[in-house]
Symmetry: D3
Subunit: 242 residues, 6 copies
Amino acid sequence: MTEQQKPLANDTLEKLRYASTATITMQLLKRGLRHGAIKRARPLDPRYARCVGPAFTLRYIPMREDLAGPPKPGPMLPHRVAVETAPAGSVLVIDAGGAENCGTLGDILVARLKSRGVAGVVSDGPVRDAVGVASVGLTVLCDGAAAPASMNEVMCVDLGIPIGCGGVAVFPGDVVATDLDGAVVIPRHMADELARDAYEQERLEKFVLREVKRGRSIDGLYPPGEKAVADYKKWLADGEPE
Amino acid sequence: MTEQQKPLANDTLEKLRYASTATITMQLLKRGLRHGAIKRARPLDPRYARCVGPAFTLRYIPMREDLAGPPKPGPMLPHRVAVETAPAGSVLVIDAGGAENCGTLGDILVARLKSRGVAGVVSDGPVRDAVGVASVGLTVLCDGAAAPASMNEVMCVDLGIPIGCGGVAVFPGDVVATDLDGAVVIPRHMADELARDAYEQERLEKFVLREVKRGRSIDGLYPPGEKAVADYKKWLADGEPE
Amino acid sequence: MTEQQKPLANDTLEKLRYASTATITMQLLKRGLRHGAIKRARPLDPRYARCVGPAFTLRYIPMREDLAGPPKPGPMLPHRVAVETAPAGSVLVIDAGGAENCGTLGDILVARLKSRGVAGVVSDGPVRDAVGVASVGLTVLCDGAAAPASMNEVMCVDLGIPIGCGGVAVFPGDVVATDLDGAVVIPRHMADELARDAYEQERLEKFVLREVKRGRSIDGLYPPGEKAVADYKKWLADGEPE
Amino acid sequence: MTEQQKPLANDTLEKLRYASTATITMQLLKRGLRHGAIKRARPLDPRYARCVGPAFTLRYIPMREDLAGPPKPGPMLPHRVAVETAPAGSVLVIDAGGAENCGTLGDILVARLKSRGVAGVVSDGPVRDAVGVASVGLTVLCDGAAAPASMNEVMCVDLGIPIGCGGVAVFPGDVVATDLDGAVVIPRHMADELARDAYEQERLEKFVLREVKRGRSIDGLYPPGEKAVADYKKWLADGEPE
Amino acid sequence: MTEQQKPLANDTLEKLRYASTATITMQLLKRGLRHGAIKRARPLDPRYARCVGPAFTLRYIPMREDLAGPPKPGPMLPHRVAVETAPAGSVLVIDAGGAENCGTLGDILVARLKSRGVAGVVSDGPVRDAVGVASVGLTVLCDGAAAPASMNEVMCVDLGIPIGCGGVAVFPGDVVATDLDGAVVIPRHMADELARDAYEQERLEKFVLREVKRGRSIDGLYPPGEKAVADYKKWLADGEPE
Amino acid sequence: MTEQQKPLANDTLEKLRYASTATITMQLLKRGLRHGAIKRARPLDPRYARCVGPAFTLRYIPMREDLAGPPKPGPMLPHRVAVETAPAGSVLVIDAGGAENCGTLGDILVARLKSRGVAGVVSDGPVRDAVGVASVGLTVLCDGAAAPASMNEVMCVDLGIPIGCGGVAVFPGDVVATDLDGAVVIPRHMADELARDAYEQERLEKFVLREVKRGRSIDGLYPPGEKAVADYKKWLADGEPE
């Protein structure tokens, strides 16, 4: 798994920021991966829907009443350690342990993540304090909001190991990208190449959309046939006019 | 099924545009139909929630990995044919084949539908490229958004035949109406008469709501007793003052 | 059950208005209650998400076709009686009887509730006429919107008795509080004391959030250790500066 | 609702015992009722699947932790009162309040029901002590088995009122019939007539099945055309030979 | 799609009868197909779980109350035509149109299928008359039993076209195999080759299971390493002793 | 977590074998634990439903197509290591990673577990090769059967760490007990004391059931009042006659 630590190419994150998650999943499909889109994680606030970064993982399991009571002073529990140690630029990805009616994060922890430079949060469970969280202005994708604290339903047991999140395998270091369509996971070892191809696909689709908006039929254009490819190349050569 | 081709009365669509889907389902109930509201189809963007028109149907089934790969140039697949042939003014109704985590339409196809004058789209599955689709400004009701393309999960097999969409039978030519409450289906043969009655019901409820907002009890007013009916007639005679 | 009629302390509702539902559920947990948050009830319009008040309950069961047809003039059915009798300041809490695709309330009944001074509505089923309901400006938490009227799926059988709403027991007189995170139920007998503690917790968290936003680590701060408690007291003594 | 107390015709229960629930639902459909079959209630033990009798109802709601603890000596809680008072020959119908992972009845209460002559139990939640319950030999239809006692999830609040059970309205006195296909509810006022017609339909289908097993096509036989009706009458006249 | 009509190799069905569905899905996976197992279709009676044959398809959609009433004499509806025309040896595969609480087949139609030599039935919805159906002795995989007839919820619209059944694409002529684990679908064009490989895999696993039952570790045995392969060959040469 | 390694009292497992899971969950409730019953784990074969032993845990996450293909020779994957290392007498508890349509174990691995003396298997996902697994005669509780192998949907990532299984926290060393009602988890530190109390409760309920079967009312008997307690003591003193 040391492949997960290899540095990404310089422009990989930037190119992925240019691409939509729709484009990224098409590139995953071209590499034989049909299951890269996380279920049950939607932007809490549509204004803060986009982020890209390597995954920092957190794992919850169902709570047990004798272990999971109201928080007390003392050594930090694992999820609080994660909040203090997730690297700047990373995306905190949470396996919420099946939480349906409690929030694993609230406004205070999200504010701390924002302040530490974390790029975003993706969870397959709810958050709490939805108003407070949205006011922080950090990208948060989750399964809606719920008032109860996590220990009503789940407890955090470890961080930094492979998890399942919304039906997708997430290894620490995998690249996560999000937008209004949700969150997708790119295996680390294919991130550089995929980013390049996704960037190219975005440019092509920008051209296609422009043509369609001008009234052109999709027949032969999308997916592009010979003529459309030629037109696209000309458009590129012309400097990609609007 | 030739009844499905008979032209609608001149003012049917216009009268239905005046009515809410709530009113239309009440008129369906008065005709013994309790199952006209499509499940899992909600406006993608609340600004573009309303449309009325005859149904043009499309049917997906689950994909099979050896048949459903990334798109290639060549003859258009059925859903692309549909995008190019759905009549202006029609509503494209999609049986998404159980799709839960992929979009059967994205920004490019929706832009083409808009450009061809289609009135709207109703699907019981997600769309993809939610930002792009919303920016087109076409009425789209669907089951949220998902990044992966349709061939990750489903494939289109035919168009223009009876389908089930969100638990409702839809025959080509049935009249579909949508708003924030969702999409409802009116069997073709009862559309003209139902439109007239829905129009009348809307006027009555406009009067009732006005009375309630002025502080009147709903007792005897909603549903209207003798006195309320008299008041309503007077209000009509008075030119329906606000 | 006479405890349910005892008057609340003067400032209980006011203190609860200051608290979030997240805070209230933490106070419930401290009293051993893990199940106070109603499922499937979300604000219909985020602008009208907050209300606090004693519960007035309404119970639906599945409809039977020979009993549940289009509304007729005559004596008011139980849900209409409820609309005319729910006390000003109360929260109408509806066990929607499993309704998934019909609205138990529409714009007219909600307008009447607003006009009668009811504080809000919480239902574990949909409402109908979502546009009209939202325009009334009353706090309504529900399971989305659906066009069909209630008698398509359910019928109201009684009011003012203990119900289950979204997986939570609600006794008439229990105190209900709502915000963007949903609705929570406080057993009547613990409302006064809980309100006081929730108020105090809110102040503490206001302090904690302020510290976090200024860059302080959550270690030792949240939950607060000795040093943080001292800082908090100083902040209180200083008049709670922003 | 006094119609619910009118005695049934002498042979109504006997005729219903001759009919399958499949036949009964067809007779309900002929009277315009499409929703008489209870969901989530299956025979716990296929050997004890059949019973017919008037409904005695019981209603649970979600438990509240401060009210629902381990059982204590004292006055009997409502569900125990029901076990001691449900009339011989009746079917105990339980609205389990959404219970998914607890049993509202166990071997001891079911043994007592059996001993008191109750005809059967229908619940939309689980039972517990499945081995013990099955060994009692009473007809029990439920949503499987679960080890925890009811107070882990729900509590009983009243008996003898209209309830919803598995999506069906059940009024005390309605006639309930069960077999391997599940449980169906016949509104009291139509039980006598429906029983007669169900009995006749059963005889006809016995004839049809005999013909099919002898190799006859279903074309013109099922549903029966003129020739088949004549054959049926002859078969009746011949004394219904095997 | 003419490939769907090409005759199968002589021993294909026989070899598939020797294989479990578990083995068949492993062979599908080796060919890149992960989605061949039909969901929600389980043997109604474990004694009649196995069948193999080419698919004959039937498609239901949700019913509409004005079209779907109690059966009447007259021309046969599509599902009755299917019962009279499905070839001997074929497997009737039903897209039940989302039916959850009604049976698309009952004892009479299943008896007719049996009498006509159909190999089995696979449906993603319930059947009705479970006792009667089981007594016929035909292999039936379905989603349990329900009393109401199909027209309570769905109606049949066509036969012999591609369908989705339990999340799997089924084309007429595809080969279907069933056992206690459920039903799997083999695309027609790969059936011959897959049958051969499945047969070989079964033999190997028979050997492996024998070794494990004699106490051998699975390490190096399952999946088989060099030594295990040699042992297997010897076992084959020895005539496959028990 | 060293408490998890402390030896159990000599008779703890034996006493738990005498108790039903229904009784064990009542003892958990008396200690404040409402969430000890695993969801979605039912006996695959009712003849092999019971086992008791310390938990040995296994964790799956969703598969990724580039990592999870058909099995190959080489070092054993984690779940195969578990099959070879789970101690005799332990219960293998599997977090199936959300698997719904694949089996994490088949007949060969279950045969090996049996041969190694493992007490049973509990999984919140399906097994495959249901016929073969049942023929092994090991206690297996799972979520039904499915033909596809695990790598169609999930992959095993580690063993011997805390997991969530069917909504319940399971720590290695916790005591698991199963019967027809399902599987329950007893935190290690309370197993000895709970086993003693469960044993006593079973004896009392044996007495109560005997009384009920002889026609005694449950009023004052269950839960037992003063008189019943005296009768119980006498019954004990009399040597617990049938």
